[in-house]
Symmetry: C2
Subunit: 187 residues, 2 copies
DNA sequence: TTAATTTTTTATCATTTGTAAAATTTTTAC
DNA sequence: GTAAAAATTTTACAAATGATAAAAAATTAA
C-alpha cells in the first residue's frame, strides 16, 4: 500500500499539509528478522508498512508476549516512544522482508504544533489506533481458547497463513501446545 | 478532581482555547447505578469524573464483560461514539454516586477543526488513552489468574476496595469463584 | 432492628490448559 | 540434495480453572 493511500485513509489532508508531511518520509527496505524497535530504548522514528508483516512483543520476566501484528497499511510505533518520548516496553521485529515508509517523530511533533490539519491527522491516527486496541482487549476476554482461535480464523485468516503458530498462540494468550490441540480438534 | 486540572493534565491549553472548551462543559451529578452510555446507541456526549467510580462492560444481557473502570480525573467515553460517531458496544454505569463534567462531542469536533490548540489537546487525549489501553492489553496477557490478581493488587489496590469482586473477576478474565479461591490462597 | 437481598466463600467434580519430552514435519544452510 | 536447525504436533500427566450448588457473610430496605 502506497504512502498517499495510507495518509489519506487516516484523515484526508489538504495538498499543502500533505506535502509538508511527506517531506519527512522516505522509503526503506529491511530483511526478515530485522528489529525496528528494541525495548527500553528511546527512538524518534515511526514506520508505515508498504509491504510485509511485523510483530510486537513485550518481555515481562522472560516469556515473550506477542501482542500485535502489523501488515500492509499499518503504522508501526513504539507507544511510549511515540506518545511520551520515553523508553518503549516493546520489541518490534520483521517477520518477512519489508518495504517501509520511515518518518521522524520529532519532525512530526513540530508539524503538529504548526499545522492544524496535521494536528487533526495525528488526532485521528491516535483515535483509530485506540479503537483497534480496545476491540482487541475486549475480544481477548472472550471465554475459551477455542473461541479465541475460531474468532481469529473468522476475522483474520490471512494472519494464520503468514505467521508461525508459536507467535499466534502467544497473541491469543495460550501455549503452543494448546493451540496445536485446538487445531487438531477442528480437523 | 476539578475540570481545570483535568484539562491541563491532558495538555495545557492557552487561556483563550481553554475558555472555548469550557464553554461547552457543565457539571452534573447522578446517583449510583445510573447508566451513562447504553450499548448500541449513538450519543454525542462525553464526561470527566470529578468524583466517583464507573465501569464499562460489553455484552449486556448475555455474559457481561467488564473491561474498564474509571475514577476521579478519568474521561468517560463510548469509543465508537466518540471516534466514529457510531453505535457504541459498551454500557457504562455508575458504581457510586458521581459528580461529572459533561460535554458535547459535536461541539468538541467543531473546536478541533477551528483551534489548533484544542486539536492538539484532542490528539494528546487520544494518545494517552491509547497507552493506557495497550498497557492493559499486555497486562491482561499475564499467564495465570493468580498473577493477574497480584498485578492488580500491586498497581491499583484502591480498586479492590471500591469495586465489588464480581466485577473485578470479570475485569481480570476469570470467574468470581476463581477469584475468591485465589484470595483465600493468599491469606 | 429484622427480613430480604446481594455478595462472597466453600466444596465437589468435570473440563481445560500447562509442562515436559518425544516424534514428526518444515525450513534453512551448505 | 543432504544435514542441521527450527517449528509443529503428539502424548502423558499434573495443575489450574470452570460449573454448579449451597452455605456464610455482608449489605440494603422496610
Amino acid at each position: 500500500m502506497d504512502i498517499d493511500n495510507i495518509i489519506d485513509n487516516i484523515y484526508p489532508l489538504p495538498e499543502k499539509s500533505k506535502t509538508l508531511l511527506k517531506e519527512n518520509i522516505y522509503e526503506i527496505t529491511y530483511p526478515k528478522a530485522h528489529v525496528l524497535f528494541k525495548a527500553n530504548r528511546i527512538e524518534s522514528t515511526m514506520y508505515f508498512i508498504k509491504k510485509g508483516i511485523v510483530r510486537a512483543y513485550a518481555n515481562p520476566g522472560d516469556e515473550e508476549i506477542t501482542f500485535w501484528f502489523g501488515k500492509e497499511g499499518d503504522a508501526v510505533i513504539s507507544m511510549k516512544n511515540y506518545v511520551e518520548n520515553q523508553k518503549g516496553y516493546e520489541t518490534i521485529e520483521l517477520l518477512e522482508s519489508c518495504d517501509l515508509y520511515k518518518l521522524n517523530t520529532e519532525h512530526l511533533r513540530k508539524l503538529f504544533s504548526e499545522d492544524i490539519h496535521v494536528a487533526n491527522w495525528g488526532r485521528k491516527f491516535a483515535e483509530q489506533e485506540l479503537i483497534k486496541v480496545e476491540e482487541r482487549l475486549i475480544f481477548r476476554q472472550c471465554r475459551t481458547a477455542m473461541e479465541r482461535y475460531k474468532e481469529l480464523m473468522a476475522t483474520d485468516p490471512e494472519l494464520l497463513q503468514r505467521v508461525q503458530l508459536g507467535h499466534i498462540a502467544s497473541y491469543l494468550g495460550m501455549t503452543q501446545v494448546s493451540l496445536s490441540r485446538i487445531r487438531a480438534e477442528l480437523k
